[in-house]
Amino acid sequence: MAETFTVNVAQDNGIWIFETHGYINNLAGEAISEKYREAFDQGGRQFLFDLEDSKIINSVGVSILIEILEEIVERNGTMAFCHCVPIVKKTFNIMGITQYASIYETRSEALAAMREN
């Protein structure tokens, strides 16, 4: 039904960037979690999720992002998002995620803000 979900991971001066492609459902959440674990184990503490190509999400997928957020908050790390479509921003607001993770319009804006942290 949905196109295959993929997540590409890159690093920019200690900030781990997760670029997602496709519907963020339970399976996508698990795929993100797996990549996050690898990055965390390599010492990553700042994580940016670029959702430009993920215009549909569901709360099960986002719940897995909350699992990730729990660990990041506990380790004094940073989680941020960029390129979110309005319904994704609204969903994050309703769920309260924006109290703990910032949302930026663009990747460059996010990276600049995260470097200052």
Binding site: I56, N58, S59, V60, I66, E67, P86, I87, T91, I94
Partner: protein, 140 residues
């Protein structure tokens, strides 16, 4: 298709991975016919995704199907979603809070109803041991 006339569309989806997307696409198409703005179309679509997923995950229905009726009026879209599952008690479900969800060992899920109620103008739930009916309305 004339958006000013009342119309009814029925859709039955199996409880299979990602089938909620089929329902949300119908909702979005009907919302477009009604000339809902992009934000409201996305809200309807998201609320219906969540309603379907709740049914998939919690209904324990034997036929593993969700029955959806979309009814359009000039200024609103009404979506009725039914399953033949075991039902649930709305009052037994506490609203989720992020500060609690972020505590170690706390289950992170359970956001569906909150999202549906936040994104739609009204959500009514009728549930018993023979199944659940959810009626959601979004006004233009």
């Amino acid at each position: 298709m004339d958006g000013e006339r009342n119309r009814e569309v029925e859709l039955t989806i199996p409880m299979l991975q990602d089938m909620e997307l089929a329902a949300s696409r119908v909702a979005e198409a009907l919302a477009e016919v009604l000339k809902f703005d992009e934000e409201k179309r996305a809200e309807v679509s998201m609320a219906l995704l969540e309603a379907c997923i709740n049914s998939f995950e919690h209904s324990k229905s034997e036929d593993r199907k969700v029955y959806i009726t979309f009814q359009t009026a000039p200024d609103e879209l009404k979506i009725t979603l039914r399953d033949h599952g075991v039902g649930f008690q709305r009052e037994s479900i506490d609203p989720p809070k992020i500060e609690e969800k972020l505590r170690p060992g706390v289950r992170k899920r359970g956001w569906g109803l909150k999202l549906m109620e936040s994104l739609m103008d009204s959500v009514a739930i009728d549930s018993d041991e023979y199944g659940t009916t959810i009626v959601m309305v979004k006004k233009k």
